[in-house]
Amino acid sequence: MTLDLIFFLILSLIAVATALGMLLSRNAVYSALFLVLNFVTVAVFYLLLGAPFIAMAQITVYAGAIMVLFLFVIMLLGAEALPATQVLPWQKYLAGGLAAVLAVEATFIFLTRARPAGEITPPDASINTITNIRELGDMLFTKYLLPFEVTSILLLVAMVGAIVLIRKEKRVH
């Protein structure tokens, strides 16, 4: 059992535990904080997989911006906990069963169809990550220029949409 594998197992344990914590917390604020921890753990996975830029983007965008927005809205609405009313009592058990089926099926299909063979080694410590990021940026502005521009328009539309939704409507009658 190598050090890599031990690292991986500990990190995946944390990732699954925080995801379950997010799922099971009664209080939405705890859910959000568990999810932040999960995102940070996944960022460490990205570092192990040799993707430092994505790891930093994950922390700044997901754990930083998105989750702060979530926490802000939770506290703004005062929606920490909902009253416990159960409309469909059997729904929970059905969902649990279906999720178990999904997990088994997805794992089976991934392992038989995608055939992920081989082992993942962490990137060589001597590799300069700055050149890696430079190459990634080069590719983003050459091969993937069109998707990049489309994404910028998408972000603009989302920003305008959010403002339009939140803005107080002037009643015209």
Binding site: F8, S12, A15, V16, A19, L20, M22, L23, A28, S31, A32, L35, N38, F39, V42, F45, Y46, L49, G50, A51, I54, Q58, V61, Y62, I66, F70, V73, I74, L77, A79, L82, Q91, K92, A95, L98, A99, L102, A103, A106, F110, L111, A114, P116, G118, E119, I120, T121, E135, L136, M139, L140, P147, T151, L154, A158, M159, G161, A162, L165, I166
Partner: protein
């Protein structure tokens, strides 16, 4: 040395937990967070496959990472609009319980 299948299995487990959250929880905000978790699981699979191809080819490859970058940007856009919608629903219904949001007309 971690077999790549371990990463894929972890990704499948995280995705399933996210799907379970969407099915079970009734708080619209937590359903939203579960969707984020599912996106994250898919991203993890992307980067793991990217790294595996990198090792197989022997030179750095960035296509998978760039896809993840786009997914993160789209998720940010989605959260901005979605949270605006949730705030707006809360203003008119005084609740974000998805069981109570059953009418199309506010």
């Amino acid at each position: 040395m971690v077999p790549i299948s371990y990463y894929i299995i972890l990704s499948a487990i995280l995705f399933t937990i996210g799907a379970l959250g969407v099915l079970v929880r009734r708080n619209a905000l937590i359903i939203f967070m579960s969707v984020e978790l599912m996106l994250n699981a898919a991203n993890l699979a992307f980067v793991a496959f990217s790294r595996a191809r990198e090792i197989a080819n022997g030179k750095p490859l960035f296509d998978g990472q760039i896809f993840v970058f786009f997914v993160i940007a789209v998720a940010a856009a989605e959260v901005a609009v979605g949270l605006a919608l949730i705030v707006e629903i809360f203003k008119s219904k005084r609740s974000i319980d998805v069981d109570q949001i059953s009418s199309l007309k506010g």
